[in-house]
Assembly symmetry: C2
Homo-oligomer: 321 residues x 2
């Protein structure tokens, strides 16, 4: 029997008789034959592989996103290669180089904090490898992206706090250098005004994610003539620092104050004093959306270029008990 017959039989080609197919499959099993995917991909000049570049696997936000990507990829017979940039733009560049070398069919990337250049991503696209940015993206809007719907998340947080009768809601905003910080601030402001609560700039404080800095602004906020009774934070690690400040300095306020921040950290469930709620960014869904978008591009390779699209994934309010 010829190799081509065997190949067709194993690929369930319609031109092969059922009898032959059965014989082939039987022998293949008996002999533990496993096709060489590498050769297959090489021949088809398609690797059925997606590259997924992540800043840091210790961050469980990304783990969930990976799970989302893997779910969609697996469902479509694609493999996923995960690589870590460790927040290092050079390492990231090396990874992308490797991904091009191994001829992945597409790349999903959450860029490192230090990534500035758009050049490598253009190179990817030129090479015919579509790219989707996940969560973090360049300001350059020439690429597809999947990101948190920050306004929506802020809206959920403010809605929750206002429904709990808070009127003086502070915002610990992220560094102004990040676009996300502005989006969340914007969402906070809109949500307040939509509910007839005037925006008070005195209640907005920029933080840099360090505990001392957070303590400093918390101190300032509590020193106001009309101090806030609730806090909306840029991310939950800030909520934890804020909470600790209150425990240490205003323990009598602990039960009255409410704190909500972005990021539903799994570790919160182990805390005695939890933030009141978290804005879950649905990173699993971000992963699935990114993978779907990427696959759409991959399947579209030949045809006309698809328009650039940015998908915003809505958030979910998680109340901690």
């Amino acid at each position: 029997m010829s190799v081509s017959t065997v190949s067709k039989a194993l690929n369930n080609n319609s031109s092969i008789s059922t009898f032959t197919k059965e014989r082939v499959v039987k022998l293949a099993n008996e002999w533990n034959y496993i096709p060489n995917e590498a050769a297959r991909h090489f021949k088809q000049s398609k690797s059925f592989t997606l590259g997924l570049v992540i800043p840091d696997l210790m961050d469980q936000f990304y783990i969930q996103a990976i799970n989302g990507v893997e779910a969609v990829a697996g469902h479509n017979k694609y493999q996923v290669i995960v690589a870590q940039s460790h927040e290092d733009a050079e390492k990231e560049a090396q990874i992308i180089q490797n991904l091009i070398s191994s001829r992945v069919d597409g790349v999903i990337i959450a860029i490192s904090k230090s990534t500035k250049k758009t050049e490598l991503f253009q190179r990817l696209e030129q090479t015919g490898i579509p790219v989707v940015f996940l969560s973090r993206s360049l300001n350059d809007s020439a690429f597809d992206a999947v990101a948190t719907d920050n306004e929506n998340g802020a809206e959920l947080a403010i809605d929750y706090l206002v429904k709990k009768q808070h009127r003086r809601i502070a915002h610990l905003m992220g560094p102004r250098a990040l676009r996300t910080s502005h989006l969340r601030l914007q969402g906070y402001r809109c949500a307040l005004e939509k509910r007839g609560i005037p925006f008070d700039p005195a209640l907005v404080k920029e933080i840099d994610f360090s505990a001392p800095q957070t303590n400093k602004v918390m101190k300032a906020l509590f020193a106001l003539p009309d101090p806030p009774t609730a806090f909306f934070t840029f991310k939950s690690y800030v909520s934890l620092d804020a909470l600790r400040f209150i425990k240490d300095r205003y323990p009598q306020q602990l039960q009255k104050v409410d704190i909500v921040g972005f990021g539903n950290l799994p570790l919160i469930r182990y805390l005695d004093h939890k933030p009141s709620a978290s804005i879950d960014e649905n990173s699993f869904d971000m992963g699935t959306a990114a993978a779907q978008l990427l696959l759409k591009h991959i399947d579209n390779q030949e045809e006309q270029a698809l328009p650039v699209s940015t998908v915003r994934i809505p958030c979910k309010l998680i109340v901690h008990h």
Copy 2:
């Protein structure tokens, strides 16, 4: 210029003149030529890729192990493919099948809780793909493995507690079905006896990792005529449950009691009431050791089979402040 000349030039083959090499490299850069690794691997029938199978990426213990594997692999020009079994033996089997298909050069695996069969691992070895078990392994000792030095970890824990003047040290042991549980119990017992403290079976309680079960045994321990003043737990999640029990039921004991368990969970640093210490299993080192062992086998392919070896990675005591 012929393809073979170019190939040799790019691979820095000694039979090519410096002049030609320079010209080739220059043009390759200009034209953004990136060699097709897939074809290369195919031709060399070597993928320079290690498969790494992990039960669950949400467990940061494994993330550190991955980092260790990647460090060694990268240093030796090997790629790492990480796959999750999600504790499902069937999914795990599928992953191994895929790894064989893609002709990885070796596999490192932390088996799922439900993995029983040794067949697939034998298949891997037959196919010429060496396997190293990481952290968790089959009872079958026919395979190489890298694991925690459980006796050493127990010794560290008991040493710490005895130095803090404890004489009544309970052990919340893991399920008897796990070999690790027995090893840690054994280490506990030896360490006590070495320090002249008689082993008291009444101080040993089996737990199943559920909070209610832990509460039950804690209650029993405190009801003893001579209750323990310290606790050595199978893992830190159990320490957390034990701690909560004490906070709820014996708050006055909170400052007196010491708790030490296996596993240095990153989340501990966010707790108000921490276990006194943790036994860090050095999972990064486990990763590097596993990768080194695997590479040794890969490089040894042709030659005589290496003897089966089990590497025990020593632990580290981490005191929480």
